[in-house]
């Protein structure tokens, strides 16, 4: 029975003339208590596992004063991504060219940047020339347990430069870093935005009415 029954049996014979006391059942239905118990358990399980904070590693380079000590990048493999107001992303390949001859400053969103990264990576890999330093890089990747170790050095020239501007939010910054992880971009750097680039972004924002 779904209950506690502690009412005694009528084994004791009372004497004659003694009126039998009316026996009240002491049974308690336990079902609601079980319901409540499990409800609380469910609640605790949910609240305990809901918020699991994780961390993302970020390594920054040491600031160097001497331009000679700076890391050099091949112009053909560099993609500069800038973050602006209203979750907008701006990018250009190689060197920034904005003059009568052409304009490679483009605008996209966080959705669009993924394809641009993938395509640029493919393009850089396609141009790859095998040389002596490659086997070393492959060996290192193999030891690390990289599944794609055979292609380890193919994308070595692919460098993404991330430049969030004053109006970009922290969420934007994390999103773009996350995009690096998602697309397995191995070399990327966070750099201060140049005044020229910031002006370009502001002009574009003004034109598009982004506040």
């Amino acid at each position: 029975m779904a209950s506690i029954d502690s009412g005694g049996g009528d084994s004791h014979k009372k004497g004659p003339g003694v009126k039998k006391a009316k026996k009240l059942s002491t049974r308690v239905d336990m079902t609601p208590m079980v319901d409540l118990g499990f409800l609380l358990i469910t609640f605790f399980i949910f609240t305990a596992t809901m918020s699991t904070p994780t961390t993302m590693d970020l390594n920054m380079p040491k600031d160097v004063k001497d331009p000679k000590d700076q890391t050099e990048a091949k112009e053909s493999g560099v993609l500069t991504v800038m973050l602006g107001k209203g979750n907008q992303v701006y990018y250009y390949e190689g060197k920034l060219v904005v003059d009568a001859g052409g304009n490679n400053f483009k605008q996209t969103t966080f959705k669009g940047i993924r394809d641009i990264l993938i395509n640029k990576k493919k393009e850089v890999i396609g141009r790859h020339v095998h040389d002596d330093t490659c086997p070393k890089a492959q060996q290192r990747a193999k030891e690390k347990g990289d599944p794609d170790w055979e292609n380890a050095c193919k994308d070595r020239d692919f460098i993404v430069v991330i430049k969030p501007d004053q109006d970009a939010t922290y969420a934007n910054t994390v999103d773009i870093l996350d995009e690096m992880t998602i697309n397995q971009v191995k070399t990327y750097a966070m750099v201060k935005i140049l005044p020229q680039e910031y002006e370009l972004i502001q002009a574009t924002e003004k034109n598009n009415g982004i506040k």
């Binding site: 336990m30 358990i41 699991t52 994780t54 939010t169 996350d178």
Partner: protein, 220 residues
């Protein structure tokens, strides 16, 4: 012919053991749950696909809230003396003249978000009331007077010889310059590796990361 009498069995079951188990599990969960310490500000962290766990000890937590205010706190559950070392370090390096009692309060202070000039006032308060105090944030934006540099320096000295993680917990809505200023303060202490606190997101299917994380090494 005698009638075959089917004995009627009761379908009622005794629920008592069931209740016992339910409440046993319940009490286990209540006891095993670690309650979040009171935070001076609610932070909504942005999502990321990385599922690395957060270190809970030997860490410095720098919080940037949605209005770009910066808070500093030390995470050291195991060794409470680290708190004393940090506050003492700041006290001597910045000549704050804090009393012993004030420095003792620092152990219970969850996060400091005041300039050095307001530190005395914060530590004079009861730790329970500190949560209600509107803290203006540690000044970081002015590179000549980046007070976070001193806090990090004190923490670095307190944890000398041990591994120390730098956690940056920023609200998604905070602006990038605040984050940059925090990184600048860390850089000035010659620290270049940080952990950004994020919430877990699912990796987009078929992305390079998704494929790599599902890859299982082949055994020959």
């Amino acid at each position: 012919m005698p009638k075959v009498h089917l004995q009627r069995k009761s379908t009622d079951t005794d629920m008592t053991p069931f209740v016992d188990i339910a409440f046993l599990i319940l009490s286990f969960f209540i006891m095993a749950t670690k309650f979040k310490p009171p935070e001076p500000v609610p932070i909504t962290t942005p999502g990321s696909v990385i599922s690395q766990k957060l270190p809970e000890n030997n860490a410095v937590l720098i919080i940037v809230d949605s209005t770009n205010r910066v808070y500093f706190s030390v995470l050291s559950d195991k060794d409470k003396t680290k708190f004393d070392a940090v506050i003492q370090g700041v006290n001597t390096s910045r000549n704050l003249n804090l009393t012993k009692e004030e420095m003792a309060t620092y152990r219970q202070t969850y996060a400091v978000g005041v300039p050095f000039t307001g530190l005395k006032q914060l530590l004079d308060m009861d730790p329970k009331d500190q949560v209600n105090l509107k803290q203006p944030g540690i000044p970081v934006m002015d590179s000549a007077n980046n007070e976070l540099v001193w806090w990090i320096g004190a923490a670095k000295a307190a944890f000398a010889g041990e591994k120390l993680n730098y956690l940056i917990k920023g609200d998604g809505q905070s602006k990038y310059p605040a984050f940059e200023a925090v990184v600048e303060a860390l850089k000035r202490n010659d620290e270049f590796k940080y952990n950004l606190v994020t919430a877990l997101d699912n990796a987009p299917t078929n992305s390079a990361f998704d494929k790599a994380s599902k890859w299982v090494p082949q055994t020959k």
